[in-house]
């Protein structure tokens, strides 16, 4: 009985050590990515585009099982914000499947996305513009790896100029919400 908690502790430690980037984005921020979308008019349009595209994806899938099962791809594609660690443009492990799902959705289709890169408010304005663009380009690269064409993806950076809803204010919680790339489906 004594060994089990110890084993669990060791296992947890190993898991945490294996994915050091995970704690940098608070879980609520990740959950927010879906909820934040409808609050913006532009993002609202993106949601509508998502729904259409989802429907198409299901229609054309020959392998759709008879039983309605939760669609893991749809759940991934519903997440349209990728969060980053401080001064980093590396897509964290928890977002690689999200970005890949968007890439697969774009592959072979005609949809277009705009990747909007953002940073938190710390550091210099223009350096942050460049960092935001670098984040957007990192997501673009991942989308292309998953099959998206260059012409389907445009990148833009707003640096620290457009904090996320709820991302105003100071402190790591607010800043973590702002270090992001928003995937916006264009009408």
């Amino acid at each position: 009985m004594k060994k089990l908690p110890l084993l669990a502790l060791v296992a947890t430690t190993v898991l945490l050590a294996g994915c050091p980037k995970k704690p940098t984005t608070p879980p609520d921020a990740a959950a927010n990515s879906g909820a934040a979308v409808p609050t913006q008019p532009a993002a609202g349009a993106a949601t509508a585009a998502n729904d259409t595209a989802n429907a198409q994806a299901q229609d054309t899938s020959a392998l759709t099982p008879a039983q309605p099962l939760p669609d893991p791809e749809a759940a991934l594609v519903a997440r349209t914000v990728v969060y980053f660690a401080l001064d980093s443009d590396v897509i964290g492990e928890e977002f690689t499947s999200v970005v890949a799902a968007h890439g697969k959705r774009l592959a072979g289709g005609t949809a277009h996305v705009r990747l909007e890169g953002h940073t938190d408010e710390r550091g210099s304005d223009s350096y942050n513009n460049a960092l935001g663009l670098r984040r957007a380009e990192a997501v673009k690269k991942a989308l292309k790896l998953a099959g998206a064409q260059d012409a389907q993806v445009e990148t833009v950076s707003f640096g620290e100029q457009k904090p996320a809803a709820g991302g105003e204010g100071e402190g790591e919680e607010a800043w973590a919400k702002n270090r992001r790339v928003e995937i916006v489906y264009l009408p």
Binding site: G123, S124, S126, Y127, A136, E137, K162, E170
Partner: protein
């Protein structure tokens, strides 16, 4: 007063002068009305002196003779300027024992009793369509007249004239030029994300005469005055992506000068005003420094590196650019000669140094430096040494030198608000400019046109 002729002419022209004075008053009233009409959107900046220097010079500023009616109180403007600099302690007006005008006898025993080192006296006269301001600066210790000058102002230029008087006093007594007669530009942000309104504002260095020169629903940032003070370059995100614009301040006429690829950012003027250094992203999103010739819209590449190269600024001789680059892993300052060659690293201390600005004499850099997890404004002597933090943080950015190279303005956060703050590099004197109507940021400092 040495030459009697101007005095005689002045007597002969009294009628004309009175007519001119009336015009001047009418002009002043019109200006006030215009400001009142515009005021709801133009909350005035509040200036607070947050720290003076340790040994301010005691001085008396006597109300200027003839400075009546609705005209600007020249002595009050001079007093506010000198006190804001942190280098002067101005005797309260109520403590004055006499209010002599230029040319009138000075009772030195009285001035010594008031324990001031210097006395400024002056007179405002109608002259042509505007004003003439006579002023004299005396040493109380020796009785010597250190300054005796007259400056002419336009009908609406009396306030600027007062700043010029303060500049002359500052330079005479401290040996370095003042920059009270100068302007700030900054961005005011109203509302909360994602529904924000951005205004580009130009104001006198003391926060007065704030005027919005552009309003946008998309971010505005990085304003930079042309060397002659007549134009403003800035970044606007109108249309959903960044572009660099140049706007003539007198006419409001604006022109988009760079809208290439994913990023057009950080405009900096060449000393001759013919070129802008810009940060521009190539198609793969890599940001490098380019030069844009404004006459023919020709671009010349300055840096080529897969790292971020941004925030360029010209050296005062126009021969090189300082810029931010993370080519060494973290953001540091580099210098690129425009004659070519590999850029040389300039900052070595600290994990993050960015957004360089060079003093007018080329002797020092102001920059954003990270200290203990926060961001402060640092000053580094170019002759050698490490960045020395001159502010407390925790999130200071966008430093800009006053034209005299003595003071910096920067963006800071106080009580959850974006404010502008100034620091005198050598004396450490501080002021904060704020408004409760908006977050203000992205300051820059320029000459009067």
């Amino acid at each position: 007063m040495n030459d009697p002729m101007p005095f005689l002419k002045a007597c002969l022209q009294t009628r004309a002068a009175i007519a001119g004075w009336r015009h001047a008053l009418a002009g002043a009233v019109l200006v006030v009305v215009a400001l009142l009409l515009a005021s709801p959107a133009h909350a005035q900046l509040v200036v607070q002196i947050t720290r003076g220097s340790s040994a301010p010079l005691p001085i008396a500023v006597v109300p200027f003779a003839g400075n009546l009616g609705p005209a600007t109180d020249v002595a009050a403007v001079v007093t506010a300027d000198l006190e804001r600099s942190g280098r002067f302690a101005v005797l309260p007006r109520t403590d004055l024992l006499a209010t002599p005008a230029p040319g009138e006898p000075m009772l030195w025993a009285d001035w010594r009793r008031l324990a001031v080192n210097h006395v400024l006296v002056g007179r405002v006269r109608a002259a042509g369509a505007g004003f003439a301001v006579d002023y004299e600066l005396y040493s109380v210790t020796t009785g010597e007249r250190l300054l005796g000058q007259t400056l002419a102002t336009s009908p609406t230029g009396l306030r600027t004239g007062a700043h010029r008087v303060a500049d002359a006093v500052y330079e005479k007594l401290l040996g370095v030029p003042g920059s009270f007669a100068s302007r700030l530009a900054y961005v005011a942000v109203e509302g909360r994300a994602p529904q924000q309104k951005f205004r580009l504002v130009v104001a006198d260095a003391d926060g007065e005469n704030a005027a919005t020169v552009l309003t946008s629903a998309q971010p505005l940032m990085a304003p930079a005055f042309s060397p002659d003070g007549t134009r403003l370059a800035y970044v606007s995100f109108e249309g959903g992506r960044s572009a660099v614009w140049v706007q003539a301040l007198r006419t409001g006429e604006r022109q988009r000068v760079s809208a290439r690829g994913g990023l057009n950012d950080a405009p900096a003027w060449s000393p001759d005003g013919t070129q802008l250094a810009l940060a521009i992203a190539s198609t793969d999103g890599n940001v490098d420094i380019w030069l844009l010739s404004l006459a023919d819209n020709r671009l010349t590449r300055v840096t080529e590196d897969p790292a971020i190269d941004t925030e360029p600024v010209f050296s005062p001789d126009g021969q090189s650019l300082y810029f931010t680059s993370d080519r060494g892993g973290r953001a540091q300052i580099y210098r690129a000669s425009l004659a070519g060659g590999r850029p040389q690293r300039v900052t070595f201390d600290g994990s993050y140094n960015a957004r360089p600005r060079v003093s007018a004499d080329g002797s020092r850099l102001a920059l954003v430096t990270s200290v203990a997890g926060g961001y402060r404004i640092g000053v580094q002597e170019l002759a050698g040494g490490a960045p020395r933090a001159v502010t407390e943080g925790p999130n200071d950015e966008s430093p800009a030198f006053a034209p005299n190279g003595q003071w910096l303005v920067f963006a800071a956060r106080r009580g959850g608000r974006g404010v502008l703050a100034t620091v005198a590099i050598d004396s450490g004197a501080r002021t904060v400019l704020s408004t409760n109507a908006a977050d203000i940021r992205s300051p820059t400092w320029g000459r009067l046109p």
